[in-house]
Subunit: 369 residues, 2 copies
């Protein structure tokens, strides 16, 4: 069978290309058609309407008609290997958390030298109510051996990305055992949708979405660092191809706006009526760090926005700014700062895979009566 | 206010461009990121998982926090103008219909000279369970005048597409009064999602999706043909810019396959293990015409596929074909024929806006042990 062999993909992607108008490849558009995200106007909703939460699925969405036979195994460097049914998992205390997740590649298509991958502009973020149970008691029941130094999580989705693999990620034991890492079966009060990981997935709040493994099939506790492609070959910040790099982990501070006015269908350019208006948006950061400040900018002049009351620890926060729109062409922008003092950069943050690009959101608008 | 003036958009799209690799514009990718659709592997589901039903929203999705104050007016050439609340509408007998909807622009990005618009490849189709009530009793209560020759339907979504307008479409009175045209408030057993038209939309089964107006605000009965841009300026089959054209109406016969094997992440190229396999897909046609035959092709040699039992009148039908996959490179394809004798063309069907492209679905696969 194909899945047991160490295939190297004959279908390799090109390296970075200059990001110019008219330069998107068919492969990128195909990925854009497969992977969808939020509409900026849907930032109005505290909880992203189901179906507008972003999706970044590397391989095919598995067809799982029923959860009845689903099992999760916990093996490797544990004292008592476990094989859990969905009933076993759902017998634990239920917990619902409102969590903002973002794809590490969000904003990739807005940087000057774009790697061929999913061409996200801003869409890869969403906030959902996730229902599940903490992972910790299961790991404690299995009992990590003293030489356990990594915990890997594997889904059943599989295919090529350079090499054949099942999608997998790992967490250090200390994080895997934290209270907020969850096994999840529900989203916005409904069972998980197939494309969001039915019947079982991880949610690792505060981290970019790659850590929240879907269609979770097995947990393997390791005495050496997990070497899966999505851990060591993909989600790594790198300056250049030969840079050993730094792993992608928590979400960087960011904010987005609901575009004011009305759009042109094709270009999405905005027309705004002159006069008093209010611009609304959301801001968030990673690791549960809260938002301290949001600024709203018009043509490079910044003012403080008003923050809505804080929501859940891992959920975005609303903000609003008054704007007296004067006739003409304007560039509006927003910039968030978190309690750690981290602020969004005005310009792109170079990464060769386009990860972690949290530069400020800018929108060009025409104000006209 | 901007919406009362006859704006002409200063943000016009370019005309058709040759459809080559590397030739997609940023505007097209932006639309691909906004408008999402089905994943081919999700064709397995009789009812498309919520969130994978395609979306083609011309303007911003309106923010409607509650249905409480929503009204639908019926005015114009009627004897008794009506203003209906959601409670009035939902007091009528409920009806749930399983309907396959497809965007008229589906397949646009697969033809040789591509108009700049949403670059659909195959994704713009889905089947949902729509809950609502027939439109007919409301039109009968309002009472069409004898000079009524067109019934227009307007949503609250608005913006530019050449000219400023609210999204609107019309139907001939005979069709508007047919039993199957519905006012809909539910989808897959839940309230409509914002992006699917909450709180109220049309479903016009058997027609391409442009007829199923979302965020339905008012119905105006006219004594002359409705002249809205989406009726006369957009959804029209045309050979060339000066062709008066033919309006886009019902869905053309079509079929799609679940790609066998496993994908390469970036190119989506497929690797299939040699030997016996079964290929599954869906086929559908418009106007309630049922599917008579589906053929499965390998490298140009066709065999009849087996049809699953027919589903609801307006819903797609499953089909499956046995394939003994031999090592090598292959092109597999599927082709449906409906009870009218209409068959999918092997090659593209020229239309300058890329509407109604129902050419056969082809997938290149590598078969290797």
């Amino acid at each position: 069978m194909v899945e047991t062999q160490p295939w190297v993909s004959p279908f390799d992607a090109q390296e970075g290309r200059p990001n110019m108008e008219g330069d998107f490849l068919r492969e990128e558009v195909r990925l854009a058609n497969r992977n969808s995200g939020i509409l900026l106007e849907a930032l109005r909703h505290d909880v992203t309407p189901t179906g507008l939460h972003y999706l970044l699925n590397h391989f095919d969405v598995p067809y799982v008609p029923s959860a009845t036979d689903w099992t999760l195994s916990i093996t490797g460097r544990v004292r008592r290997p476990l094989k859990l049914s969905m009933a076993d998992i759902q017998a634990q205390p239920h917990k619902t958390m409102r969590v903002t997740l973002e794809c590490a590649g969000n904003g990739r298509a807005n940087i000057g030298m774009r790697r061929q991958s999913m061409p996200w502009m801003y869409e890869a973020v969403g906030t959902s109510e996730w229902t599940g149970t903490p992972l910790r008691p299961f790991l404690e029941e299995a009992g990590l051996e003293s030489d356990a130094i990594d915990v890997s999580f594997l889904g059943i989705d599989r295919g090529f990305d350079k090499v054949f693999h099942e999608y997998g990620r790992s967490l250090a034991p200390q994080l895997a055992l934290s209270d907020d890492v969850m096994l999840v079966w529900g989203m916005n009060g409904q069972p998980l949708l197939p494309q969001h990981g039915f019947p079982l997935r991880m949610v690792v709040p505060g981290w970019y979405g790659m850590a929240s493994v879907k269609w979770l099939d097995r947990i393997e506790v390791l005495d050496s660092p997990y070497q899966g492609h999505q851990q060591v070959g993909s989600y790594v910040y790198k300056e250049s191809a030969d840079d050993p790099g730094v792993p992608v982990t928590h979400i960087r501070v960011k904010s987005l706006m609901v575009p004011p006015g009305i759009p042109d269908w094709y270009t999405r350019h905005r027309l705004v009526a002159p006069g008093a208006t209010e611009v609304f948006g959301r801001a968030w950061s990673g690791n549960g760090v809260s938002i301290k400040r949001v600024e709203f900018g018009v043509d490079g002049a910044w003012q403080d926005a008003e923050l809505d009351p804080a929501s859940d620890k891992y959920a975005w926060r609303g903000w609003r700014a008054k704007w007296h729109a004067a006739e003409g062409e304007h560039e509006i922008a927003c910039r968030a700062t978190d309690e750690n003092g981290d602020t969004q950069p005005l310009d792109e943050r170079w990464d060769r895979s386009g990860f972690g690009n949290n530069m400020v959101h800018k929108i060009r608008v025409t104000v006209r009566a």
